[in-house]
């Protein structure tokens, strides 16, 4: 993973269309023989009397792009919050990398290899792009405080090594020009990119993206799709994402799970899901 990030991301320059073809053709075999990275088993979550997630089970295979879609209020973000430990489900188990757990703290989930972005961009607004992404390396830096303050010996070497990794991410995301800018001043599309960079800096096993393209124009969406595909293809990172733009979801993802009112109503390849009558009903609204 480290080596991949440090290699110049030539693959990132590939046009989005061909990359997405490749990942789609590989999807069918991948689904059959893939290793399960994350498995949710009969998970239910409620806030007081409101049931946000009702008895949902699905899995995420290693190396795939898994989309979670559904109408507003379907429980998609709650689902991500359960996976990275912000919410604790009342029922069900979550198995990540073969280890089952019910309650999880987000900082510990991060330590186990789950990174995420947020629907409404949650960056450290007062800090520069560089510092924001550096914070993503926090867990990887081990040298003692005193050494770091003095910036000598191993601490210096460590700081340089991690700066290098961060610079590669900055190059990859094409945000060199805003390295020193406080992220609070950046336009929304760039903030989303920095947030992705911070998550990538953690070199996670599972990357959770909460509406990575919300509020973007077409060009920004194409850039973001390209980044996501490269991260998945070339770095081999497993991605679970929530997205509203159906075109994007159908192009990007290997498998799609559809939620509606907290329940799972469909699960399968984009084509299967797109043809599913429940899904069409949920999106178009139908008199029951």
């Amino acid at each position: 993973m480290q080596d991949q990030l440090q290699a110049p991301p030539a693959a990132g320059m590939r046009p989005a269309a061909s990359a997405s073809d490749a990942s789609l053709s590989g999807a069918a075999q991948a689904a059959q023989q893939a290793e399960t990275l994350l498995e949710l088993d009969h998970v239910s979550l409620s806030f007081g009397g409101v049931k946000a997630i009702r008895d949902v089970s699905f899995d995420v295979n290693k190396g795939e792009i898994r989309a979670i879609i559904g109408p507003n209020g379907a429980g998609k973000t709650s689902m991500l919050n359960v996976i990275n430990g912000f919410y604790h489900p009342q029922e069900g188990t979550i198995t990540f990398k073969g280890r089952a757990r019910q309650d999880m703290r987000p900082d510990i989930a991060a330590g186990q290899g789950i990174a995420r972005t947020f629907q409404n961009v949650a960056l450290f607004k007062g800090m520069s792009t560089l510092d924001n992404i550096m914070v993503g390396r926090s867990l990887k830096m081990k040298r003692g405080l005193i050494w770091q303050m003095l910036r000598i010996g191993p601490a210096e070497e460590e700081e340089i090594r991690h700066r290098l990794a961060v610079e590669h991410i900055i190059d990859f995301l094409e945000i060199q020009h805003i390295r020193k800018t406080a992220v609070g001043q950046l336009p929304y599309g760039l903030q989303k990119r920095v947030e992705l960079g911070r998550a990538l800096a953690m070199e996670p096993d599972l990357l959770l993206l909460d509406e990575p393209m919300a509020g973007m124009n077409l060009e920004e969406k194409e850039d973001m799709s390209r980044f996501i595909l490269t991260v998945n293809d070339s770095f081999g990172m497993t991605i679970a994402l929530i997205e509203h733009d159906m075109g994007v979801v159908m192009d990007l993802s290997d498998r799609v799970v559809v939620l509606d009112h907290g329940k799972k109503i469909a699960d399968g390849t984009p084509d299967e899901v797109g043809a599913n009558q429940h899904v069409i009903d949920a999106y178009l609204g139908v008199a029951h």
């Binding site: 990275n84 949650a122 926090s138 040298r143 303050m149």
Partner: protein, 322 residues
């Protein structure tokens, strides 16, 4: 209209004449203000550290200053050598930070700020009671010489007169400078400092990159505790160690209003402005109203300042959409 002119004359002209007449006195007053200012800065820094990282206004910061100084004197009176007592005090400050995180902050996580503020008032009452219970309520003398702090003074011939600098004041100013530099490096150059700034900005995303809030809280409270201990030693050396020091610590409030609650440079510059202006006001305007301006002038200054810049000199500008 005569009285207006007289007043303006007494407020703004007479002091200038006085300064021109005795510049050495002016420098002396300036120095006193500067030293008081560095100590105010240190106290304010303790507030800023905790406010930045946890959004809590720590009302107990003042009593932490007293508590640190009392522990040091108390341990020494038990026969523990001064330097060992100092080391033990640092351990005590760490235990305090750890306990506060466990007993106060952790159970109250995600509560409104005002709840946490109330909790720190409770903490402050507890520390007053606990301190009196263990060490007694009577004022004590700081173990200045035993810690190797200098005493006596240096007289400098400046501006046609003698300006006398207390050596302990010089030590206090130096120590403040060292602590402030150390904290600045800590915040800007280290992983934990970066994590601290991250937590100050956004709790949720800090958690999502694997920063443990509890650990960060212990670290900031410990840092604030060490700053409090240092302030307590220096202030204790200039007067004595008693619970009256807590009132001095409250001077950090106008400092924070001037400097902004979230800014380290703000705390330093705010502290210096308050220190210097209160001494100047006391010396040149004090006699007009019978003295003791010093105790309320900083608050008056802060009030005026609030009209023009409520976010402080370096604070983040608060923009609210209506």
């Amino acid at each position: 209209m005569d009285w207006v002119l007289t007043l303006l004359n007494k407020l703004f002209v007479a002091p200038l004449v006085e300064i021109a007449g005795a510049p050495d006195l002016f420098i002396q007053v300036l120095w006193e203000g500067f030293v008081a200012g560095t100590l105010y800065s240190l106290i304010a820094l303790g507030f800023v550290l905790i406010f930045k990282a946890s959004g809590v206004f720590n009302f107990a910061q003042g009593i932490m200053v007293v508590f640190g100084a009392l522990s040091l004197v108390g341990l020494y009176s038990l026969g523990i050598p001064a330097w060992a007592a100092l080391a033990l005090c640092i351990v005590i400050m760490f235990s305090l930070a750890w306990t506060v995180e466990r007993v106060v902050l952790r159970p109250l996580v995600n509560q409104p700020d005002i709840i946490l503020f109330m909790a720190t008032i409770g903490l402050s009452s507890f520390l007053v009671g606990f301190g009196e219970f263990v060490f007694g309520g009577e004022p004590k003398t700081m173990i200045t010489a035993e810690l190797g702090l200098p005493s006596g003074s240096i007289d400098l011939a400046i501006a046609g007169g003698l300006v006398s600098l207390q050596k302990i004041d010089i030590a206090a100013a130096l120590m403040s400078a060292v602590m402030v530099t150390g904290l600045a490096v800590f915040f800007n150059k280290t992983r934990i400092g970066r994590a601290l700034r991250a937590v100050a900005d956004d709790h949720q995303s800090a958690l999502s990159v694997g920063i443990t809030l509890q650990q960060i809280w212990v670290i900031v409270w410990f840092a604030a505790g060490v700053v409090a201990l240092a302030t307590g030693i220096m202030w204790g050396a200039r007067s004595d160690v008693s619970f009256a020091l807590e009132v001095v610590a409250l001077k950090a409030l106008p400092v924070l209003i001037l400097g902004g609650f979230t800014s380290i440079p703000g705390a330093i510059i705010g502290g210096l402005i308050i220190g210097v202006s209160e001494k100047l006001a006391e010396f040149y305007w004090g006699p007009l109203v019978g003295g003791s301006i010093e105790s309320w002038f900083p608050y008056f200054l802060a009030l005026i300042f609030l009209w023009f810049r409520p976010q402080g000199l370096f604070g983040e500008k608060i923009i609210e959409r209506v």
